[in-house]
């Protein structure tokens, strides 16, 4: 496959080892996924560094969510591998999906929901330190005011913030946003991503953002991965322009 010289396009035969630095948090090496005879993607190779904000773009059905499910170890790839550095157990992953299967009738307050992720201790009640952490995250995500409101009664934007707060409470080194802004109005999209960016600047976490939203991609991302039929494209956000997108849809 021809490489466009204005774009940094990495193909499956590139060696990820050459890109490893001490900032690398994840490597994806010749990753492939098939469902039966249908190839979703193949030869996907890239590295992710601390502080990197990678937007994953592509049309519906191209395999973006499949990729995320592989990264979350919910699916086993049919080829290649994903490695975390220094190891999977040492990399905490936060995940913010578009929707969550939480029953509206559950008596789960926003605070309860965010605190669910504090599951390591044996005591049924939260420790003083855990309560402090919980209050801090609620404050940082602007949820203190509705902390005691049932989850079923908050707006879509507040719900996404609650998902984000739950992901952030464990201070993830890798944060995955899977179409998290898709159902939000314009202001709320930017508000949510401002919170993500703020967290990223404080912690140097890596972010993977699955989206169709180009303005958001251009404002917040450092890099992009464009999944498309045939070879995928990977580059810095400055290299994402109309030519690339048109080529993707050609």
């Amino acid at each position: 496959m021809a490489s466009n010289e204005t774009h940094q396009t990495i193909y499956s035969n590139d060696q990820p080892d050459s890109q490893l630095t001490e900032d690398t948090i994840m490597t994806v090496d010749k990753l492939g996924m098939k469902f039966g005879q249908k190839t979703v993607f193949q030869g996907l190779t890239f590295t992710l560094k601390r502080g990197e904000f990678l937007s994953v773009l592509g049309e519906n059905g191209i395999g973006k969510t499949t990729l995320i499910r592989i990264l979350l170890q919910q699916l086993r790839p049919t080829a290649g591998e994903v490695s975390f550095l220094p190891s999977r157990s040492q990399v905490t992953i936060g995940y913010v999906p578009q929707f969550r299967n939480v029953d509206n009738e559950y008596p789960l307050t926003v605070r309860d929901f965010v605190g669910l992720a504090l599951h390591d201790h044996l005591t049924p009640w939260w420790s003083k330190h855990e309560k402090q952490r919980l209050n801090q995250v609620l404050r940082e995500t602007d949820l203190t005011r509705i902390a005691h409101t049932p989850l079923g009664r908050v707006s879509g934007g507040e719900l996404q913030k609650a998902y984000l707060a739950q992901a952030l409470i464990r201070q993830p080194q890798l944060l995955i946003l899977d179409e998290s802004t898709a159902s939000l109005d314009n202001n709320m999209k930017f508000e949510l991503l401002d919170l993500v960016k703020q967290y990223q600047q404080q912690t140097q976490a890596a972010v993977i953002f699955v989206t169709h939203d180009l303005p958001l991609t251009k404002k917040y991302s450092t890099n992009f991965l464009l999944m498309q039929p045939g070879p995928y494209q990977l580059g810095t956000i400055d290299e994402l322009n109309e030519t690339v997108l048109e080529a993707a849809h050609a």
């Binding site: 979350l72 008596p107 309860d112 669910l116 599951h119």
Partner: protein, 265 residues
Amino acid sequence: MLSYPFMQNAFAAGTLIAIVSGIVGVFVVARNMSFLTHTLSEIGFAGAAFGLFVGWTPLAGMLLFTSVSSVAVGQLSSKASRREAAITSISALAIGLGILFLSLSNQNASSATNILFGSVIGISRTSVLQVAILALAVIVVIIAVYRSLKFDSFDAVGARVAGIHGTTLAIIFLVALAFSVSVAAQIVGSLLIFILLTLPASAAKYFAHGVGSMIGLAILFALIGVWLGLALSYWTNWPVSFFIAVIEVLFYFIGLIFNRFTARN
């Protein structure tokens, strides 16, 4: 009423059963396992009948059958698309086996009635002790896995991402549920166990403002049902399970009305 030893035993066992049912019921409701609990009660009937057939206590037979089959049913019904069919077929088999074991054991009709509908008079001091040990075991297990169970039950997607092993947790919970079913059957009978394991928690979710208060309210509703049911049964000589069923259904409908009223406002 409380001067009679059999009523003291019934109240002691009933209190323990209500506490266990309230706690476990919250997770039954959150994990959408009401139908499975119903099936476990039928499996409990088969187990109790098996216990009589081989000369064990009905409780021992119940524990064996519910523990083994709860895990089997849980695994079989892990796929939502086949959940109802899998549970229905096992339920049918359990009822069939229960009837067969009762028939083979030459027990009279009152044994069957006691297993199916429970018996206040049948609770001895030893039964209370057995119930206490089983109840304690269930409570200790639930406390040990409380946070992970809460996460997995109320937000399974988040729990998976956080690295909680869903299958192991599901098996632990199913065994705890099987123990709870066997415990609760002592007073309400195997046919109506699901009343205490589902309705108090289902009603509580409409009044509570958090998981902790949901558990507290579920215990309270179960306790009121059991205590009031026992007292009314003593005064009227009608079956205790009838009163418990009516009281718990009442709590549930009040909850539904309360929810509709608060949602409108």
